[in-house]
Symmetry: C2
Amino acid sequence: MSVHPPTSGPVQLGPGAHAVLRPVDGAVITGGLLYERRRTNADVSIPDGHTRLVEAGNFHNLRLAAGTADGAYRNTLPFLDSDLYKWLEAVAWLRSAGTVPAAEATRLDGWVDDAVALLTAAQQPDGYLQSYFQVVRPDEHFIDLEWGHELYCAGHLIQAAVAHVRATGRTDLLAVATRVADHIADRIGPGFCGHPEIETALVELYRATGADRHLALARQFLDARGHRSLRADRFGSEYWQDHLPVRTADAVTGHAVRQLYLLAGVADVYLETGETALLDAAERLWTDLVTSKTYLTGGLGAHHTDEAFGEAYELPSERAYAETCAAIASIQFSLRMLLATGRAKYADLLERTLYNGFLSGVSLSGDHYFYANPLRAGDGGPARTRWFTCACCPPNVMRLLASAQHYLAAQDENGLLLHQFVAGEYAVSLAAGPIALRVETDYPWHEEINIHIGQSTDRPWTLTLRVPAWATEYRAHLNGEPVAEQPVDGWLRINRRWSVGDAVRLDLAMPARLTAPHPRVDALRGSLAIERGPLVYCVEALDQPHTLDDLVLDPDAPLTTGNRPDLLGGSVTVTATARVRTTEQERWWPYGPTPVSTVLGKAVRLTAVPYHLWGNRGPGAMRVWLPTS
Amino acid sequence: MSVHPPTSGPVQLGPGAHAVLRPVDGAVITGGLLYERRRTNADVSIPDGHTRLVEAGNFHNLRLAAGTADGAYRNTLPFLDSDLYKWLEAVAWLRSAGTVPAAEATRLDGWVDDAVALLTAAQQPDGYLQSYFQVVRPDEHFIDLEWGHELYCAGHLIQAAVAHVRATGRTDLLAVATRVADHIADRIGPGFCGHPEIETALVELYRATGADRHLALARQFLDARGHRSLRADRFGSEYWQDHLPVRTADAVTGHAVRQLYLLAGVADVYLETGETALLDAAERLWTDLVTSKTYLTGGLGAHHTDEAFGEAYELPSERAYAETCAAIASIQFSLRMLLATGRAKYADLLERTLYNGFLSGVSLSGDHYFYANPLRAGDGGPARTRWFTCACCPPNVMRLLASAQHYLAAQDENGLLLHQFVAGEYAVSLAAGPIALRVETDYPWHEEINIHIGQSTDRPWTLTLRVPAWATEYRAHLNGEPVAEQPVDGWLRINRRWSVGDAVRLDLAMPARLTAPHPRVDALRGSLAIERGPLVYCVEALDQPHTLDDLVLDPDAPLTTGNRPDLLGGSVTVTATARVRTTEQERWWPYGPTPVSTVLGKAVRLTAVPYHLWGNRGPGAMRVWLPTS
């Protein structure tokens, strides 16, 4: 089996025939917040994930399919295999980074070998592979397209296989995945999956193998969708984006993760086909997504019942669903849109989602997870959970953290672009020759970002740095002198003949700031949030001197920041001022003639911590949005 | 079989050994809003309900149990029988009113005869009766107490049987129900039902039969609950109020209808046993309910997923679940608390719920229903539905409307008390002799209530009228002279020797008013609602000159009311003033530095209609709470 491009290295998304930007060939994260969370991911989450998958029966179920185990199928959900695939993908990206100690590497490789052997054994001679339908409903393959998740599971298998081949060069898992893809192509007819995911995976399989048929199948699924051919069932065709073709839909609808994986697939098919109707649709839906259906944290999905988007501006804090998987899917979608268009706004949203609505999904300890990521919690919690019956989120966190280096930098023919600021080594091969640079920064905690050129060429090239939309003040210096260039559309581009040792310093001023909601958001009227740099802050009850819900923010009092190396693994807090609200004597009925009389008492200090760190000190009340009256 | 009290007439809840108040023996509604809705209930809803029950398979399923039909069990829910029982109860109360034309009475009685015969045939020799478990899971009786709804169905059967005997004097259905109750007593052991309902029903069966064992069983179920013996399952023990014993629980939790039916049962057991720990618990939980978990409309339940209460003050408008059944259960609970304590606040809540969150549950046409009753809707709806797969609400509406005369007046040894103001004839038998009065009013549309004494005795007795909490101004006249007495705790009591022809006029001033939310309700901050008398108002998009969500209420402009006999079956509208909000040029990100600049443009007229009438002119946007900025 040929693998194309044979030496692409451990990157996703390469090359993208119609991409404006491409991921960098080499990126190594060497320090900072993401580095720490990735270390926990490697040391705790991924090994713990193996234990959980064993406990939850994911391996057992595949052994049933392989005929090497007895007993009942574990769990009633049909998509358990996908948890294992996401975990396998995480292991592959982790191994590709080359940072795993030898003993641990041996253990990981043994797990991978066992899993690949198991999947190979479980796969039917015709290519079919999904343990649930092999064991529980063997006569119903490709019938329950609405809920069966067969193509969804295949998509995650494909993604794991592509990661595996890129990390190891081994094509054994890719062979399994390709047989699955081809079996689906043979059998699926005009159908498609109730849960998108395979579309983006097939494009990646096309990139890995060069086989056009995979790209064609991805496009076929995009074309087939949107004609109400799936059973509407409980939530309507909008739930699985089957109410309108993707090229004409004008609003994101339904199940958030389904919508976002679909959009990642739309962007991917555009990247390889250049069909502008797809790019137009993706841009239109991305705009709808962010203008009225995205939480301040980047979280997505306002409804618990159907894990779905609400109406425009329906963004309740307590019941924010904001599934961790939706944040991951949004990051994947935004990255593809960045590569397709080169527009900085996609990197802005990616950053916001990464450091807030995504990172909140896993505990600092690396072994507890939020499925939903609300922006307000009452006294009782919620608390992160060890694992879930529907365990889509934990291994999804693992694979994103393990592949985070792919989400930071990009290249075009003119040079290298840093759209995220993470301490690390970045290298690309331009036509003029290889270049490399080192980033030193403690971002997002601190504003200073230093870039050192480590390798260059004789010819000029462009170093491009994003100036985030939140950064209303910045300073840039080159070798100590102010940079003359001005940012255009969020990008600061410095074109010159770079020499080894050249140093760029970018300072993105990070005063804590207050943020107001759009006036149409009923749930947030009269409230403000605290942000600093790319981080959204929250207040947790245990840091406050009074009952959280009686603290009223004084929007005119100054905000101060404090370095707290002792707190939550090292963080920066923001202190604000609040007044203690006393409500008129309690009535049996909470509504009354206007105005309800309240008294704002003494001023107290309100301490805010980064949202992504909330709930790491036990369950308790929390708020992102603070009332001002 | 003896029926006790044999001549109690068509009332519920009688006599109540420890009741402070008792329902009146006779109440006949003769005009006004409730009269009209009851007429539609009789003319449309109840006959239509029969058609729907036939279509939905409710009769078919019981025929399967009786062995008189073939085929598959219809629907996968185990509690379909209860829909039929509620409809049967509605028919009984309708027939008891004696207002049905002869031809229609014959049709109704035929349906009842057929249903009673069917239930008699379907009941097993051992007394078991629930078609689902007889047909689908015959070996699993009383095993799945969490979700099986076996006792819940039995409770509704009992309530139907009690209504039937009170309406007709016939004991055939009561015999079936009593055998079911006794079979449950034999078989249930220490168990109890995941869905309360049988508790209140058993007390009513005790009242109808005088058999202590039914009251004892109700109490046994109260005692058994609250020790986490039901499987916690997905939503935790709080979902079915099994986390704390009812006597020590201090907050309403979980599934709203379950909680409220349970509390109706708690109040009922208190009414017959006088156990003060039960009354204390019921008062405590009622207070928790209304102070922080009740919508302005009286609606209850903030979560769709588990049909459950949210946290204190978590009351989002769009996603208000506010199930119609929860409003009904709340009305039943409040009535029992009124009878137990004589406190006017229970009648206040009952009135609010009846005219707002309950009545919204059914269309003006009487054949479409809301399951959820939100306080805000977007452009797309929702719309009322003809029937539901889970059709608990429609026949529940039917039985409450058909028995509404029981919810208006009460008596004690001193006289008669009107806690609701509905045109009608009210009669009670005091120790001193029978008394009767006639109420003439167009309440809740208009403020004038006239009471004419039609029968009296030589001895003095007390006429008690509620002065609602919303009524900050009132006037009372007796035979044209101002009444000297002042209301105490919501009750205006006039004790005298009443003569036939005496006339009392009560005017409850009904200026339209603005109502503010409690400052802890995030979802409502900066918003006001329009109310008039006991009615909550809403604005529907189709009445407004501009996009609803851009209208900002001017709280200082006057409100005016308008009689609209042409609108929605005759109603009173309220007109307010709004400014049209223009938001700064749209950004791709809806959050920004404070303050977000908005421009309030020209003043326009905002037309509000009673909330319970919304959605009767097609789906569209609607708001109860209006932003003021």
